[in-house]
């Protein structure tokens, strides 16, 4: 009877790794798991989480990323400050105990762990020993390259937000409590760069991969982002490298959607935005349920008194005024350049522009950029979780990156740069076109806000433009003051969560925390 102590899982949905990977189809499912971590919080649906200590909805990867990149800035106010961690983020007083900070830290490193596990389960030797042959072996080099892309993406987020990371790859001895060494910004930068360069040959050509999976375009985009921010990350200008990879993307078949808002609709997987979106994170009201950015944004932008959810294909009340924009954000849109512009979706009626009391959901403007309606006017498959995919990278961003890399001395041509900005304005039906003399940092940072707001870029942009910390650029509730206050430079990076420090003594806290 002593043998009875060796139990086997009885649940039909739980499979031991060795049994699972006997099935050739399992590899695609495991690949879906590595991708899926960008969107899903568990294998049991959106109301469960494979994380603890943080609400399941907010432990979602994109949501964590979004919170750190957006509600810390002038682009968004989250009305429910009773939600753990929110108030400190939007009032610039976060600590190393903030659950939203540790949620993203853990979620990004979870992606690394999933990628390493996939790479370990798909070595030539293992596949041979399991007798895996056929199509899946043909696909495997691309699978593995994509998984390494996803791991690089996760380390990129660590680099951008924390400036360091515990470093673990499939080469490490592993084990459930292996404590990776700390990699600093330079090490992470070099690693991400070398990984991306190494995998690009194995990746599918732009727009040739199955929808939702990364292709060469996504890898070039990540490289371009890495180089654009290199001065912030490692104190080294790499704008010409940035421009090189922007051009790679620009010349590879991606095209702007004719309508700006198509990018943010329920059918952005199949309407014309398909060719603008370089890398999407999926969401579906039935099959890929999660409370990630698209669901949060569509429901969150619904006004408390407007109850305009039906306009976006969700319940009329949505999340009852969860999200608004700051006065600074509204002022940029109202500075005269964007009065006629599809990207200006502000609702201003019966609302004061300024938010003096965050809990007062009738103050501050709201926007209507995201939708669970299709481009043909159908509603999505469910009325809370949306079908809208999250465009983590899209072509319009590359246009603006090109202009910025050029402006910062990366080469290229000023006419091309100006042309790209005007192309975006024209696409948005904005008659105010710019000329070469208008191409300034001031214009670019504003243009990025106008084009890319609520897409998870703002903090990174503000840091790069030197406007996040310090007092040169303030907005409501920055520094915990209604009109904004200077904050110290150490807040350009987030703290290493205390729990992570405790679990891995190789890590050190960021300065200032």
């Amino acid at each position: 009877c002593i043998d009875d102590l060796d139990v086997q899982p009885g649940d039909p949905d739980i499979i031991l790794a060795d049994d699972l990977f006997k099935d050739p189809d399992a590899y695609k499912q495991a690949l879906a798991g590595v991708y899926g971590n960008l969107a899903l919080t568990s294998a049991e649906g959106p109301d469960a989480s494979n994380f603890t200590g943080i609400d399941e909805g907010t432990s979602q990867y994109g949501r964590g990323l979004w919170n750190l990149q957006e509600i810390t800035t002038d682009e968004a106010i989250w009305s429910w400050e009773t939600d753990a961690g929110v108030a400190e983020l939007q009032r610039s007083s976060w600590t190393a105990d903030n659950p939203l900070v540790s949620g993203l830290f853990g979620r990004a490193m979870f992606e690394v762990a999933l990628a390493n596990e996939f790479l370990n389960q798909t070595t030539e030797e293992l596949l041979d020993s399991r007798g895996i042959t056929g199509q899946v072996r043909t696909d495997m080099p691309a699978f593995r390259a994509e998984v390494r892309f996803l791991r690089s993406l996760a380390y990129f987020h660590m680099l951008d937000l924390f400036g360091k990371a515990p470093f673990v790859t499939e080469e490490d001895p592993g084990g459930s409590d292996y404590k990776g060494p700390e990699y600093n910004s330079q090490q992470l930068f070099d690693y991400i760069e070398s990984e991306l360069l190494a995998i690009i040959p194995d990746m599918k050509d732009p727009l040739q991969n199955e929808y939702g999976r990364a292709d060469k375009g996504a890898a070039w985009m990540l490289l371009a982002k890495l180089y654009l921010n290199a001065e912030v990350y490692v104190g080294q200008a790499r704008y010409s490298d940035c421009l090189t990879y922007c051009e790679q993307i620009l010349n590879s078949g991606f095209t702007l959607s004719p309508e700006y808002l198509y990018n943010f609709m329920a059918d952005n997987d199949s309407n014309a935005a398909r060719n603008e979106i370089i890398f999407p994170v999926l969401s579906d009201g039935i099959t890929t349920q999660n409370y990630g950015p698209p669901t949060m944004l569509v429901n969150g932008q619904v006004g408390n008194t407007e109850r305009n959810g039906a306009d976006f294909g969700v319940q009329a009340v949505g999340w009852t005024g969860a999200m608004r924009v700051t006065q600074r954000f509204s002022q940029i849109f109202l500075n005269g350049s964007y009065d006629t512009d599809d990207r200006n979706t502000l609702i201003t009626e019966n609302r004061p522009m300024e938010i003096f009391d965050i809990a007062d959901r009738d103050s501050g403007y709201i926007i209507q950029k995201w939708s669970n309606m299709t481009s043909t006017g159908e509603t999505g498959s469910a009325n809370e979780i949306v079908d809208t995919d999250y465009p983590m990278f899209r072509l319009a961003d590359v246009y603006l990156m090109y202009a910025e890399a050029h402006l910062r001395g990366g080469g290229g041509s000023v006419d091309t740069a100006v042309g790209y900005i005007n192309e975006l304005r024209t696409r948005a039906n904005n008659p105010n076109l710019i000329t070469a003399t208008d191409l300034t940092e001031e214009l670019l940072i504003n243009e990025r806000l106008v084009e890319l707001h609520w897409e998870g870029h703002r903090r990174q942009d503000l840091v790069r433009f030197g406007r996040f910390s310090g007092g040169t650029y303030n907005w409501s509730w920055k520094g915990n003051a209604p009109s904004g206050l200077s904050i110290p430079a150490f807040r350009d990076l987030f703290p290493i969560p205390n729990a992570s420090l405790a679990a891995n003594p190789n890590l050190s806290q960021n300065e200032g925390y």
Binding site: C1, D4, L5, V7, P9, G10, D11, P12, D13, I15, A17, L20, Q29, G33, G36, S42, A43, E44, G45, F51, G53, I54, T58, T82, S93, D97, P99, G103, G106, F110, V112, N116, E117, P166, G175, S176, E210, Y211, G212, R213, D269, R274, D284, I286, T287, T288, N304, A316, V317, T320, N383, D389, N480, P497, A499, S500, A502, A503, N504, P505
Partner: protein, 973 residues
């Protein structure tokens, strides 16, 4: 004439004084010899003796009698003895004479049980045992949070003591649909409890005993006939509700705010005057009937059969608990007493209707609105709605972010579960014919529950589904099974001169299996039925124990258990649990022939026990598991592609191992004035190491951010005191008698060490997403409140949002929180008084806790002025807002202002009884007793919330505990 010393053959019959029935199996021994016989089935015996010899007649459950041989026929009556029964207490895999016990154990038998409104069995001993806390909720048939010495683990679920029913350790997890693990057990079937507190008494249960053991012994078949009927009828009433604004006050305050802010919320008010809290409660009639019959079936088979039925509609509308049970106990003795068989079979049917907590809704609902609205399409209940007249009634017709009518929420939902539970054991004890000192025992235990339930929400309710529809219908089926096989040998040798040794050694195998099926919402085509089959839990133990008694003075107990669990990997699954105890009965050494001191016993105990119970979600963490995605957890859909379920690796910890608790215990038992005053003082110290707790994983190496690990250590220490006194004992029959029991315990718990100084936030609260108010921090008690230090103005009113900058960095953030108090009591006490005079008896019992603090979550997230007009419609708030004038929930939620002292003194029950005696029949033992009682009589506390007895210390709106007025009748034939 027969002279002294002459040898004769004595014959006779032994029968019971109680009913004159013959008693088989009585030992008849010539005193100071080893010559003896036993009575046969008809109670007859025959023995060769000498005139003048003394025959000793003894039988379990009867007073031993000594009779001199004066003739050749000696018929003897034996008197039944409750005292005698008590002398022997059941412990793990055996029993021990109480006076020879070396460990810390307390036995509570029927005559000491609490009286009154006892729905679940654990309440029979609430307040009776020092160091044992039982906190029962207000729901009908509600389960209890049971702690012995506060629990020795950080992990809340595993602080529960092991409960053993007739040798069968039961699962601590309730089957879905049942109220609790004990709710199916009829309290009337329980004979006694033994509460084992220290390691020397619990270590024989090794693996599961770190938090103490409660052994439940059910009533047995007897030889003497008895039958009885018990009836109880009660009225449950609500004691108090949260003080919110009345309709008129509400109108005034909304008008005042309108005037201040230029708003027009007053126009939204109604004309009614509704006390919503009163509307969601009701008084209810509780009833309980039991019948039993016991006696020797066919004159040879001691049997007991009982049936019981309990019905308790809850205070909250629609909630109900109903239990029907039947128990059969057969206790035959065969082969001249060499084979004792004991079979206990129990069946119970529990039927529950669950009522959702609508307290929060009732608190906030506008008191000027009526409960019913004849025009409402939502079942005639008042609701906030805007019909869009599109031909269907769905969520689009509802106003958003308004409260829903709490009465409708209760009446339009039917959540019902039926549970069938069969449990029991069959035990055979064979005393070897050729070597009677040795017995072989086999105990087979079985406990199986099947639950089926459904949750039906009316389609005209306001409950919405993701597909816009109203209402839902979900069914579920749950199945639990627990099987036990124990076999052991017991060797018992009496050396004479009051010395003996007994040794027990054996093997135990137990397996737990569970599965759950859930249909998901049948109205929603996109929802997916789930079948969850749990990985089984197997526990295997090898155990041994030796008790040695020398000269009735020195006692030694040694025990050892080696335990294996399927929860841990091969390398880590075995744990070794030794224990030792010494006792010295020293009253005769120190106070020889004292008339005052009748007993003094010093006990020293030490032992190690293990803990592996980290819940049903953590049964196979050492395996490399992948989880396959459910319907909503797929990827690669989009652009016309078919989505595929994800495969995600799960958290793994191959290094997980036993948590171990070392306990030291010193006890002094005392008895004065021939035991008229007796009691015990105990001091204990427990240290738990390798604590099992879910902690942060090293990022990048595991498949979650948090998972079970062995981290840190934990200590608890305390003093317990028990006193039983005969305050007054009348010499006359039916004179005045008064007994009093008192017990107290002081318990201090501290987290000694957490790996790498890691702190943990725990204790989820209402209001906002993911808020937690408690923490585990090194050097503090667990579950300390982690809060901001409130600043007060000169009038001692809290200043909203003003907190002390404890770290002095000129900003107030998480780093300024500090640990202030915790939810566990420092001192717990129980009192019980029993008086009788003539045919009257009066008993009451009290319980007290001191030093338990409560986070008043009702006030912290509801008593703010902004919530008067939170959304589209006005809402009510607790009137305590007038004490603070707090405006915003966000700024005050984590203030230490809301941490209140929850110390209390409660009278749980007072019962007055009158015994009419044998008015039905001539039999001496027949009786009729009527009783009147009040349950939950009063609570004395400074706590400002409804009830300071809040397990864990976070007072959300709780299901209120009823006050009950009871009448009862107990008839014995």
């Amino acid at each position: 004439f027969i002279s002294y010393g002459q040898s004769i053959t004595v014959t006779g019959n032994v029968s019971s004084t109680y009913d004159n029935s013959p008693i088989p199996g009585v030992n008849v021994i010539i005193k100071d010899s080893n010559i003896g016989v036993a009575t046969d089935f008809d109670g007859n015996y025959q023995i060769d003796a000498n005139m003048g010899d003394i025959l000793v007649f003894s039988y379990v459950g009867f007073e031993t009698r000594e009779v001199s041989v004066t003739s050749s026929t000696l018929n003897v009556f034996l008197e039944e003895s409750l005292e005698a029964l008590e002398d022997v207490v059941v412990i793990g895999y055996g029993s021990v004479k109480l006076e020879d016990a070396t460990g810390s154990l307390t036995s509570v038998s029927e005559k000491d049980f609490n009286q009154g409104f006892i729905v679940t069995p654990e309440n029979l001993l609430n307040g009776r045992v020092a160091g044992l806390t039982i906190s029962t909720g207000g729901e009908p048939g509600s389960g209890s949070q049971i702690r012995i010495r506060g629990g020795s683990s950080l992990n809340d679920g595993s602080n529960t003591p092991l409960i053993v029913i007739d040798g069968l350790p039961i699962d601590n997890n309730t089957i879905g649909g049942a109220r609790s693990i004990l709710s199916t057990i009829n309290p009337n079937d329980i004979e006694s409890f033994t509460v084992l507190k220290d390691a020397s008494s619990t270590a024989i249960y090794g693996s599961r005993a770190a938090n103490g053991v409660i052994i439940i012994n059910t009533k047995r078949g007897t030889n003497n006939f008895q039958a009885g009927l018990d009836f109880q009828l009660g009225v449950n009433t609500i004691i108090n509700t949260v003080d919110v604004f009345s309709a008129d006050e509400f109108r005034a305050i909304i008008a005042e705010r309108d005037a201040q802010n230029g708003t027009s919320y007053s126009s939204l008010l109604g004309d009614a005057d509704t006390d919503w809290q009163e509307e969601i409660y009701r008084s209810s009639i509780y009833s309980n009937q039991n019948a039993f019959v016991q006696g020797a079936l066919f004159n040879v088979l001691p049997t007991r059969l009982s049936v019981g039925h309990t019905n308790q509609p809850g205070l909250r509308l629609t909630s109900e608990f109903e239990r029907s049970s039947a128990s059969l106990s057969l206790n035959p003795t065969l082969f001249d007493d060499h084979l004792k068989i004991s079979i206990n079979a129990n069946m119970a049917f529990e039927k529950n209707r669950f009522a959702n907590g609508e307290e929060a809704n009732a608190l906030t609902f506008d008191p000027t609105q009526p409960v019913y609205d004849p025009d409402s399409p939502f079942g005639g209940f008042f609701q906030y709605y805007n019909l869009n007249n599109d031909g269907v009634l769905d969520s689009e017709d509802l106003m958003g972010e308004v409260p829903r009518n709490p009465v409708a929420n209760l009446l339009q939902r039917k959540a019902v579960a039926n549970i069938r539970r069969v449990y029991g054991n069959a035990k055979a004890e064979y005393k070897l014919h050729f070597f009677p000192d040795l017995s072989a025992i086999i105990n087979l235990g079985f406990d199986q529950s099947e639950a089926s339930g459904y949750d039906d929400i009316a389609t005209n309710s306001t409950t919405t589904q993701p597909n816009n529809a109203l209402g839902s219908f979900t069914q579920y089926e749950n199945y639990d099974r627990n099987r036990l096989f124990d076999s052991y040998l017991a060797y018992n040798k009496d050396f004479g001169t009051s010395s003996y040794i007994d040794v027990t050694a054996g093997y135990s195998y137990q397996k737990f299996e569970r599965k759950q099926f859930n249909s998901a919402d049948r109205y929603n085509p996109d929802s997916e039925a789930t079948l969850n089959v749990q990985t089984p839990l197997v526990l295997i133990g090898l155990f041994g124990r030796a008790n040695l008694s020398l000269a009735d003075k020195y006692l030694l107990t040694l025990s050892y258990r080696r335990d294996g669990t399927s929860r841990f990997s091969k390398d880590n699954r075995w744990g070794d649990y030794p224990a030792a105890a010494l006792a010295w009965k020293f009253n005769e050494d120190i106070f020889p022939r004292s008339n005052t001191i009748s007993n003094l016993k010093l006990r020293l105990g030490w032992g190690i026990t293990g803990q592996q119970d980290i819940g049903n979600g953590a049964l196979d963490l050492y395996l490399a598991r992948y989880s396959l995605g459910a319907l909503g957890s797929q990827y690669f859909g989009g652009q016309g592609n078919t989505a595929i379920p994800v495969a995600i690796p799960q958290f793994k910890n191959e290094n997980l191992q036993w948590e171990e608790t070392t306990t030291y215990n010193i006890g002094l038992d005392f008895g004065l004035f021939n035991e008229k005053i007796n009691g015990a003082v105990e001091v204990f110290y427990k240290e738990s190491d390798k604590i099992l707790f879910s902690a942060a994983t090293a990022d990048g190496s595991n498949y979650t951010n948090n998972g079970y690990q062995n981290i840190g250590s934990f200590t608890s220490e305390g003093i317990e005191f028990t006193l039983n006194t005969v305050v007054f004992r009348s010499e006359e029959e039916e004179g005045f008698n008064w007994d009093f029991n008192y017990n107290a315990a002081y318990i201090k718990r501290e987290i000694k060490d957490l790996t790498l100084d890691q702190d943990f936030l725990v204790g989820e609260i209402d209001g906002g997403t993911g808020g937690q108010i408690q923490t585990h921090i090194e050097g503090q008690a667990p579950f300390g409140f982690y809060v901001y230090k409130q600043i007060y103005d000169e009038n001692n009113r809290p200043i909203e949002g003003a907190y002390a900058d404890l770290n002095g960095d000129n900003q107030i953030n998480d780093d300024d929180k500090y640990v202030y108090k915790n939810g566990s009591p420092d001192v717990i006490m129980g009192f019980r008084s029993n008086m009788s005079y003539k045919k009257f008896d009066l008993s009451f019992n009290l319980r007290a806790q001191f030093g338990n603090y409560v986070y008043n979550n009702v006030n912290s997230t509801r008593a703010q002025l902004e919530l008067l007009v939170p959304n589209a419609v006005p809402g009510n708030v607790p009137k305590s807002v007038l004490d603070t004038n707090f405006n915003s929930r966000t700024t005050v939620m984590f203030s230490d202002y809301f941490i209140e002292n929850g110390s209390f003194l409660k009278m749980d029950n007072i019962t007055l009884g009158y015994n009419f005696g044998n008015i039905f029949s001539g039999r001496d033992q027949s009786s009729v007793r009527l009783s009147f009682g009040v349950q939950n009589v009063f609570t004395i506390t400074n706590y400002s919330g409804l009830d300071p007895e809040v397990f864990g210390g976070i007072d959300n709106t709780i299901y209120p505990r009823p006050r009950a007025y009871l009448v009862g009748a107990n008839i014995r034939f």
